[in-house]
């Protein structure tokens, strides 16, 4: 991770970290390989022509890179309409395709958690009891070198 002042600030003061008691949807991004997860809580303001995310928060069981990604992406998502949030997720996923899987996994987990929260919100419009959605990452955050070592150890 390149450590400019902006990244350091997200490390020292993660934005939007915590829960959101008034959330009307939440979603999870999960890495089944190491148990890391990100939960996104959103409050969608509904009394507008186009509903938008007026509050967002996240919690994570994960590394510092995940926290920085969560801090940055939730800042980006705040104020977006649901379509805007979906576009943000898509753009992030496209950007991640250019990165090695071990660098992409943490940000993918956050992006998928945002997608899960938005999808949960939309599903709850039809069924208010719809459970929170969880999506799993496709990238593996174990560096190739270590993964090879693990394979040869058995």
């Amino acid at each position: 991770m390149s450590m400019d002042a902006m990244v350091l600030d997200h490390m020292m003061n993660p934005k939007n970290y915590g829960t959101l008691p008034l959330a009307n949807a939440e979603g999870m991004g999960k890495n089944p390989q190491n148990g890391e997860k990100v939960v996104i809580y959103i409050h969608v303001k509904e009394d507008e022509i186009k509903p938008y995310i007026d509050q967002i928060a996240f919690q994570a069981i994960g590394c510092t890179t995940t926290i920085v990604a969560g801090s940055m992406l939730t800042e980006e998502a705040k104020g977006l309409t649901l379509d805007g949030a979906k576009n943000l997720v898509e753009a992030t996923m496209q950007l991640l395709e250019k990165l090695p899987p071990e660098d992409a996994a943490c940000s993918e987990m956050v992006a998928l958690a945002i997608k899960a929260a938005v999808d949960t919100y939309e599903a709850r419009k039809e069924d208010p009891d719809y459970p929170s959605i969880t999506y799993q990452v496709t990238n593996d955050c174990t560096p190739k070198e270590e993964a090879n070592n693990e394979n040869t150890a058995y």
């Binding site: 991770m1 450590m3 002042a5 350091l8 600030d9 490390m11 020292m12 003061n13 993660p14 970290y17 915590g18 829960t19 148990g35 939960v39 919690q59 994570a60 069981i61 590394c63 510092t64 890179t65 926290i67």
Partner: protein, 277 residues
């Protein structure tokens, strides 16, 4: 009492952070006070368990970015005085009196402390008397953020397990692990302050400490300790060319993890033979 627990949790961390910020003899006093506040936290927690009151380790974000130590001490003093007011409503008067007496003394000592200019938030990422390459600085920065949180998490997880166990054998193990994590947290917090990147560890998710399967938790914990050893070794190698002092420190932390693993294996064996039941 829930608010009292949350506010004690917050002021314990504030006091600890103030200790990291200080460059003078104030530091040891602030550390000692933070240790006392942590004990208050465990006493209030115990009282809540006895009274079967639900609680968790949630708390607010704690702002600590200050230019002068006196600003931090003023904030802490305000919070200590708020705690004293909260204690007036506590049913266990003996406990309330014991804590109040400590808080009164702390407020008086904080009021006499000499002021200091704070450099713990400069973001300069330089260690005093050491020339680290950019790669080594980046590796050290990531390590400190990851591991300072991890040590805080371990303190809280083992504290929760200990609070909910009456088993002397296991509680001895949990207490050693809490003490060791405190030592590591203080080492890492001190380094973060020196590098100008001091930060309060983030709030822990409930599922981490409200452990349903202790055996699985211990097995995962052993894996995590092994991973931490690997991180220490990598970091020791990364800084080895620049600083033997730092490299030796991370080798020392690495070796300490062996003891933690042995303790967790010990607890695991104890569970496996059903001795805790």
């Amino acid at each position: 009492m829930k608010t009292l627990l949350i506010k004690t949790h917050e002021v314990w961390l504030e006091m600890l952070m103030a200790g990291f910020m200080s460059h003078t003899q104030n530091r040891q006093t602030l550390y000692d006070f933070s240790d006392i506040l942590f004990r208050h936290f465990t006493w209030i927690e115990h009282e809540m368990i006895e009274r079967k009151e639900a609680y968790d380790y949630d708390r607010d974000i704690i702002p600590i970015k200050v230019d002068r130590l006196s600003d931090m001490l003023k904030a802490i003093t305000t919070h200590l005085l708020d705690l004293k007011l909260q204690l007036l409503g506590m049913e266990n008067k003996a406990l309330a009196s014991r804590i109040t007496s400590d808080l009164t003394y702390m407020v008086s000592v904080l009021g006499r402390m000499n002021d200091e200019v704070i450099t713990a938030f400069s973001m300069e990422r330089q260690m005093p008397n050491m020339q680290l390459s950019e790669e080594a600085r980046d590796a050290l920065t990531l390590f400190l953020f990851d591991e300072s949180y991890k040590e805080y998490e371990l303190i809280m997880v083992y504290n929760y397990l200990k609070a909910h166990s009456d088993d002397a054998y296991l509680n001895r193990i949990f207490q050693i692990l809490i003490d060791e994590s405190f030592f590591h947290l203080k080492c890492f917090g001190d380094m973060m302050a020196k590098m100008g990147i001091l930060a309060v560890p983030r709030i822990i998710m409930k599922e981490l400490y409200q452990v349903e399967d202790v055996v699985k938790f211990l097995k995962d914990g052993i894996e995590e300790e092994l991973a931490a050893k690997e991180e220490c070794k990598k970091l020791s190698d990364a800084v080895g060319n620049d600083s033997k002092e730092l490299s030796d420190f991370f080798d020392f932390i690495n070796a300490q993890e062996n003891y933690h693993i042995d303790l967790m294996k010990d607890a695991l064996a104890y569970y496996a033979r059903g001795a805790h039941e």
